[in-house]
Amino acid sequence: MIRLLPVLLVCLLAATGLRTAQAQEEVVLGLSQNRVAITADFDGSEILIFGAVKRETPIPRDEPLEVIITVSGPSSPVMVRRKEKKLGIWVNVDSVLVDSAPSFYAVATSGPFDSVLSDTEDLRHRVSIERAIRSVGAAMNIRGAQEFADAVVRIREEDGLYSLRPSTVAVDEQTLFRTAIEMPSNLTEGAYTTRVLLTRGREVVSAFETEIDVRKVGLERFLYALSRKKPFVYGIMSLVIAVLAGWGASAAFQLLRDR
């Protein structure tokens, strides 16, 4: 028993030592809002993401702290099609199923992307826009399958859905950080994963993850749910509204004419 004690003690010390090494610097995060409500007049939203780095030890002197913040919408498979000229007109010739592409993806960093994160770490944590899209199942018989994944990035970047915003995270005294992420008006519903990565010397030292809930509310919610759950009722309702509007307009102008 007495002989066992030091062994136990060493184990315990090792365990706590490991824990402190892992969690030397931790993220304490705040969001200006943890849910985005899509209402009838929804016109995009700006989310303020801020936080502090909690640490028990003094600030390491070697490399400055950098912060990467990513906000990622729900992922879904995407069908990408390519056009080619056939018989003088442009037609879709081949397609690739990109297994998983987020509907929205924004990366904000505290410095130029290459200087805050190494390529290996990017590969591991899937931070850059290209890495956030997965297309394992791309058929090899189609030439340039990569082109298709690139096309998804290009098209969604043009729509403002994907963006890389280097040097937009402000870091004070290696402790406080903040950024604002703009979300466009053409958002889809779902849980938007928000990640905060702390890096030193291009290596990730700590990671934190939370979710922002994006939901249609009120009338938008009601109509969307109705169209999916009771499509027949929804269809009839659309028709009734159309017929009433048509009849109403006719009756209104009839009244005007009679005067």
Partner: protein
């Protein structure tokens, strides 16, 4: 004022929708067509997904047709019997059309097919109408009374039926065939089919012009209502909010258009409509021929059922 459309999942300017609805309404009031052939391409242009534009277009046409038919019923210029026959064909056609639409969607060729349909039909209808109305205008200037051919191949077919309001005694086959064709177009292109129905009634069936517009609108109601239901229950693509904004603009536009229409001669109206149809056709045709800016297009994988 931005409005978020719950089904299309995009946010668009409400006034833009009123404007599009109003503009199309003016044209439809002037020419007695539903205006779907203009509405659907315009909706594509402002970024509404094609599937939603097609389905919602059908719903919007229900409203404008109801409004139009009520006016025509008061003037007794609706051949209800003929409308019923056309509708029978139309419902069959709409079912076929939705099946074709879903099949092409799975192939990824739906955009191409819809555009080709537009180019071909608008080209043919616009071209014929233009030639015919220019000739008619020239004749009326020379003082010759235009006389429509009353007997053709249409009159030699069996199953003859009397259509009292139209003053016709013809086979039911051509009206059913026209109905089926228009039904298919409605489902695939999201149009009421007025631009093809009206010339078909005048030139193929030989119906008097005064009952053509009312009867065409009458049968369009049923076919577009049916198409709306099919799209709503199979594709979930009818956006009711979008439809409301378009039809509010549309009903006002239609009334203004009717006023403008009364100041113009029938031949002049037909030439203008022909030119409009041909220019939409030209624009869509050029898009097929010119190199697109973006060779790739993306769609949700779930859509390719």
């Amino acid at each position: 004022m931005q409005i978020y459309l719950p089904i299309a999942e995009v946010s668009v300017n409400a006034f833009l929708l009123f404007g599009i609805g109003g503009m199309v309404g003016i044209l439809s009031g002037m020419f007695g067509v539903g205006g779907g052939f203009l509405m659907t391409p315009l909706l594509f242009f402002i970024g509404i997904p094609p599937a939603v534009a097609v389905a919602t277009g059908a719903n919007q046409i229900v409203a404008s047709s109801v409004s139009g038919v009520l006016a025509h019923l008061r003037r007794r210029s609706v051949d209800i019997k003929m409308g019923m026959v056309l509708q029978g064909g139309g419902l069959v056609g709409a079912s076929i059309g939705v099946a074709i639409f879903n099949y092409l969607k799975s192939l990824g060729q739906v955009d191409l097919f819809v555009t080709l349909c537009y180019v071909i039909f608008l080209g043919i209808v616009g071209g014929l109408m233009f030639i015919e109305s220019v000739n008619a205008l020239r004749k009326s200037k020379r003082g010759v009374v235009p006389k429509r051919k009353q007997r053709g191949w249409v009159h030699s077919l069996p199953f003859k039926v009397r259509f009292r309001t139209s003053g016709l005694y013809i086979s039911v086959i051509p009206p059913i065939a026209v109905g089926v064709l228009v039904g298919i177009l409605t489902a695939v292109m999201g149009v009421g089919g007025g631009f093809i129905m009206v010339p078909a009634m005048i030139y193929i069936l030989g119906m008097p012009t005064k009952v053509v517009v009312g009867t065409s609108l009458f049968q369009i109601i049923t076919v577009t209502a049916f198409t709306t239901m099919l799209h709503a229950t199979t594709n979930y693509t009818v956006d009711i909010v979008l439809a409301v904004f378009l039809l509010v603009g549309g009903v006002f536009g239609a009334q203004i258009g009717t006023r403008i229409g009364t100041y113009l001669k029938a031949e002049q109206l037909r030439i203008l409509l022909a030119l409009l149809v041909l220019s939409v056709c030209g624009k869509l045709g050029l898009d097929l021929l010119l190199t697109p800016d973006e060779l790739f297009s993306i769609a949700a994988a779930g859509e390719s059922r």
